[in-house]
């Protein structure tokens, strides 16, 4: 699954034009890959819940950030612009 998602991302990198759907697919891919590694390789799926939540949250926030930056670049630029 992880390898399939990686090869899918490579295909997107080589061929797809930027769009909301493509960005959504990339964001979901990041989240799913992260959760798989955290739950199965790191074995956090039945570990102390604070540890699991912290790591899984990372792979919720990052995909959401990817989407927000795609959807609202100007708004975010205005928000973080120190000269305004």
């Amino acid at each position: 699954m992880l390898i399939t998602l990686t090869l899918g991302s490579a295909l997107i990198a080589e061929s797809a034009e930027p769009s909301l759907i493509i960005t959504l697919v990339i964001a979901i891919t990041v989240g799913v890959k992260g959760w798989l590694v955290v739950d199965y390789f790191m074995e956090l799926r039945n570990a102390h819940r604070y540890f699991r939540i912290a790591m899984n949250l990372y792979f919720v926030v990052l995909p959401v950030m990817i989407l927000l930056v795609y959807l609202f670049p100007e708004g975010i630029a205005n928000l973080v612009d120190l000269e305004r």
């Binding site: 991302s9 490579a10 199965y40 540890f51 930056v69 973080v80």
Partner: protein, 208 residues
């Protein structure tokens, strides 16, 4: 942390094979100290990702064109190498839980091979970049690219050193099915390195 009760619960002594690879609930894999390190590293990379996002909203055209100029093959090969290396580490931990020390060592050497492969591919990619005229100061995208990827490159380097240390400790008989907290800690750190690359790859090579 693996203690004897956990092992007994999973029936290793009777069958030689664990009933499940899942350790007991509510545990902290490895030890607390390594998680301080892991969260510190994840925070460090989170700041880099924040810089990436902020730079991207101010320089959208540069960040849209940047991924097209990078070597996608190198990025993909390195992703596959790190995923494979994480699999090898997970198999090594599972082997130790079955007291198969020699097998665990072989899996860890698999991790080292993947790590060296990653380092070689990344070095080749940097040389390839130079041939294409891509350098740190080419534009802001490549400044972020070099800062992020070289930082990760260093992590793979010293993470590989930690894996070598685990191999040495296994050969010295320091880890067993009953006691392998140190190996678990190193394994978690290595998985963290893989996790960070799972984010870096799409941000720099795929996303436009």
């Amino acid at each position: 942390m693996a203690d004897s009760s956990v092992i007994a619960d999973r029936g290793i002594p009777e069958t030689g094979q664990p009933l499940s690879f899942l350790p007991k609930p509510n545990r902290i894999p490895g030890n607390g100290a390594v998680w301080v390190g892991i969260y510190a590293e994840m925070t460090e990379f989170a700041l880099m990702f924040l810089v990436y996002f902020i730079a991207k909203v101010f320089h959208q055209e540069v960040f849209n064109q940047g991924p097209l100029q990078l070597n996608t093959l190198a990025g993909t090969l390195n992703t596959l190498a790190l995923l494979t290396s994480s699999f090898c580490v997970a198999k090594a931990v599972a082997s130790v839980r079955m007291n198969r020390i020699t097998t665990a060592i072989r899996w860890l050497w698999g991790t080292i091979i993947c790590a060296v492969f990653y380092l070689v591919v990344k070095t080749w990619e940097y040389y390839w970049n130079i041939e294409q005229g891509i350098e740190i100061e080419t534009n802001l995208f490549f400044t972020v690219y070099y800062y992020m990827t070289f930082n990760h490159f260093l992590h793979v380097g010293w993470g590989g050193g930690a894996i070598l240390w685990a191999i040495y400790r296994l050969k010295k008989g320091a880890y067993s099915a009953e006691n392998h907290e140190g190996l678990e800690a190193i394994a978690c750190y290595w998985h963290m390195i893989d996790l960070v690359w799972i984010i870096i790859f799409p941000l720099l090579y795929v996303l436009r």
